[in-house]
């Protein structure tokens, strides 16, 4: 931060960085090959709704835009932290990435970039997949495997919640971290791997 900004008590709202989303197709192949994980076809864009009519218009605009596409399902959800989720479902992973990108750029173009929190992509083990090194038991234990994209950082982190209340499988997350290190920019600061309990993406 510049000295002048420090003296005046100014910070610029952090702007999102969307470029790294397109590293996901590579990560998908790696996940399937080495861990037996496949995208569930669902992704979520999480943001903080801002005050004003304009924002309501923007979100409905996004939904209209995506509803036009074929095989795309979109719905909106709120979570207990007061954030809103635009959940996109599309069985083609490449299309899904594009759609998530559209949601983000539409919000960004309307000046709501600073309100974006993260995007989440859901993965699940291939049914009966023997290639899962954690074994069938390990695969059944987790409630889902997620890749979280932090806009402001341009980095990803894995999130593996356990079905029991608010616990996460840190070991599995570290394994994913190592596996994906070459495909994606993984967030180096572990403090920022915050849990997203009860996220509406499955």
């Amino acid at each position: 931060m510049k000295l002048f900004d420090v003296l005046l008590g100014r910070t610029k709202p952090a702007q999102p960085n969307l470029d790294h989303l397109f590293g996901l197709p590579g990560a998908q192949i790696t996940l399937e090959a080495s861990l037996g994980l496949r995208p569930t076809g669902a992704a979520g864009v999480c943001f903080k709704p801002a005050a004003g009519q304009q924002f309501a218009q923007t979100t409905s605009e996004v939904e209209q835009l995506l509803d036009l596409g074929e095989g795309v399902k979109v719905h909106e959800e709120s979570d207990s932290y007061g954030y809103r989720w635009i959940v996109v479902e599309d069985n083609d992973f490449g299309d899904l990435i594009n759609e998530v990108h559209v949601v983000n750029t539409t919000l960004e173009d309307h000046g709501w970039g600073p309100q974006l929190l993260c995007s989440v992509f859901a993965f699940s083990p291939i049914a009966g997949g023997a290639s899962d090194p954690a074994g069938a038991a390990g695969g059944a234990k987790v409630a889902g495997t997620y890749l979280v994209y932090l806009y402001k950082r341009g980095t990803f982190y894995p999130f593996v919640p356990l079905p029991s209340a608010e616990k996460r499988d840190s070991e599995r997350e570290r394994l994913l971290n190592v596996t994906l290190a070459t495909d994606l920019a993984i967030e180096p600061d572990l403090e920022r791997w915050f849990p997203l309990w009860g996220l509406p993406v499955h």
Partner: protein, 298 residues
Amino acid sequence: MLTTIFLLGLLYALFVTVLFLVGLKLVFILVIAFVLLFVQYFYSDRIALYSMGGKIVTREQAPQLHGVVDRLCAMADMPKPQVAIANVDMPNAFATGRDKKHAVLCVTTGILRRLDEPELEAVLAHELSHVAHRDVAVMTIASFLGILAGLLTRVLLYAGLFGGFGGGGNRGRGGGGNAGGQLAIIELGMLLFSAVIYAISFMLIRTLSRYRELAADRSGAILIGQPRLLAQALVKVSGEMSRIPTRDLRAAEHFNAFFFAPAFAKGVSLSSLFSTHPSLERRLQQLTELEAQMGRTA
């Protein structure tokens, strides 16, 4: 909220003044002053936490609070500060620490009990803005400079007047008793003058503090995207709920315009010069303007 830092600064100013009055060598006082500045700068997080009785809480102990802070930090792209809770019923929150990496965010159980979740989030966003703006570092250094200015004025004045008095003595005017009386008057004058210098710097620092509170309000409100929530939280915390009817603040806008006018017509009052925080009216006004602005542009 920087009140704690101010009390520390005041204590520190008194301490240095006492040292000077006791008659310690200037170099000595400067060394002690710098050591204190160093301690204050590097241990402000622990001092403030200790003075409020705050305890660092882990994610398991306060999952909800941690979750809110996590998300705000991710949106603002800043490292997450440590989170602490003080078991005090007074509704308050403060952020401390010299930079983003050594910050502690502390809330009292009183504020947790009184505010609902979105309001608490607004208060946390305000406190995180203090961290992002590095307010503790700026205010610590500013108050130190104020004390230094007071001290230097005193020293220079002392040296100048003492030289002047010596010159007068050489000309042989006045007896010994007269000189003693003069010395006492000069001493008194110097004391008054340095008190004035300190008072001015004190007021300037308070002005700076009020400015930075408004800056943190603004950044915090922009971060959560809803200035109204921060305004609500401020009204609740100030215990001035009765002043504004139970209506939404946006609905009360025209009422506010009427309400704020007499406050400004009065001009600058003494209490507004000495307070570390801007008046509630001033803060609410800024937030109301911001809310209106967000509705217009996008």
